[in-house]
Each structure stands twice: as C-alpha cells, then as structure tokens.
Point group: C2
DNA sequence: GTAGATTATGTCATATTCGACATATAAACA
DNA sequence: TGTTTATATGTCGAATATGACATAATCTAC
C-alpha cells in the first residue's frame, strides 16, 4: 500500500493516484475475471511443461493448433475460460486442482 | 455399483451396460466440464435467490435478458463458463467462492 | 377460479471465439 | 556462425455464444 504522504505529494503535482484497476478503469469484477484467466493460463503452461510437452504436442491432444495453445498460455483476450478449463482437464487436471488454481 | 451377475444377464440380452458417461459416450473430461458448469449454475441461482432478486432484476445487473439468466441457471449448452463466472462475480462472489463451488 | 408476477423455451441476427495458416521471434546447440 | 526446434503474433472464414424478443409454462395471492 502507498503511504498517504507520498500519495498527497503526487496528487499535488497533478497525478491521479490509484490502483492499477483505477488506472485502466476496470471494475473489481473485471479484475477478478482477468486474474482467474491468468491463473488458469499459468496452470496450463505449468502442466504442459511438467509433462515435457511442446505446444505442438499439446495442440494435438487438444485438437487445436500450436498458435491457439500459445494464446491460451498468454491469456489472450480471444481465449475463453471454457477453452482453458477444457484444456486443463484434457491434461489430466481435476476440478479440485482447477479450484486450487483460481483461489 | 451394478452387480456382475446382473450385468452379465443384461449383456447377454444385447444390452450395453456401463456408467452414465459410457451411455452418453462422454469422456471423463466432458463429464467434469459439465459438472463444473452445473456447479456454477447452481451457485448462481443460490446467490440470486438469497439476494431476493428475480431473474429480471438479475438480468439488469448483468446487462442481459431474463431468458439468458434462465438459461444460465438451467445450465443450457448455449451458456459458457465465462458468462457464469462473470455473472457470479457481478453478484459479489469472490474467486474463492467460485473455487469452492466447483470443487 | 384468475390476475399478476416469475421462470422456461424457442428462435434469430449479431458478436465473439474458434482452428488454421502464414510468418515472425526466440532459444538451443553444433 | 547457421540450422533446427520452440514459441509468439497477426489474420481470416467458420463455428459458437450472446442479447433480445415472443410466447409458454409455472407459481402466488387473492
């Protein structure tokens, strides 16, 4: 947390000071959603690399393309939570593990 | 679990005997996915009713229509996990609560 | 009963997500 | 160095999810 004194100083110099979500004008729900997606993305990459799989190999398992796997792991906006969940399940993750990842 | 004797009898009569997922030809991943969706659907209805909200009122909060809310709670195939998650977050659920719901 | 509120179901045009492809960038290693 | 393997990025037509609407079914008081 930023100190109140520093905050005041910055604000007096014309800066708007706030959290990252304020800056990007995201509501806390949007932040939570994005963070959940990132948690799943990271989980996916972890599982894949721990299984010594390349993105090409993982793509075969998921019946998709390497580029989409890359986007999944990058948390690309074009990737849905559904796709991340399905992919994680396909790598053998259990719902409990998914729950752990997002909490 | 079905008894082996009964299984044999049924199979000898031309029946394929197995679990529900076998019957519907669903893989365990597909089952897990559907179960996760249902858990979120149920969670959503619980939260909405506990908050004394009608589907119409919830729809306003979600910026969608009553019919889509009904489909969300029914676990309709046309509803994504993304939409369920976003709606739950809009009702004030935390990622931890979502995690609890699916595990 | 029946009137009003609530929830469910079917459909559709639009929006978003999808797999795929091309190509760029990066990492590993001789 | 150059070659190979892995990952990232941009784009596109096809597939899927979306909000909205109409209408049906179900509840809830009176």
């Amino acid at each position: 947390m930023m100190k109140a004194t520093k905050r005041k100083k910055l604000e007096s110099n014309g800066w708007k000071v706030g959290s990252v979500e304020d800056f990007l004008e995201l509501s806390s729900e949007e932040v939570a959603y994005i963070e959940m997606k990132h948690a799943l993305s990271n989980s996916l990459r972890e599982r894949r690399t721990k299984g010594k799989l390349s993105q090409v190999e993982a793509a075969k398992i998921f019946k998709t393309s390497q580029s989409r796997v890359a986007k999944m792991e990058a948390g690309d906006p074009s990737v849905s939570i559904d796709l991340l969940v399905k992919s994680l399940l396909a790598l053998g993750a259990s719902p409990k593990e998914l729950a752990k990842a997002i909490s």
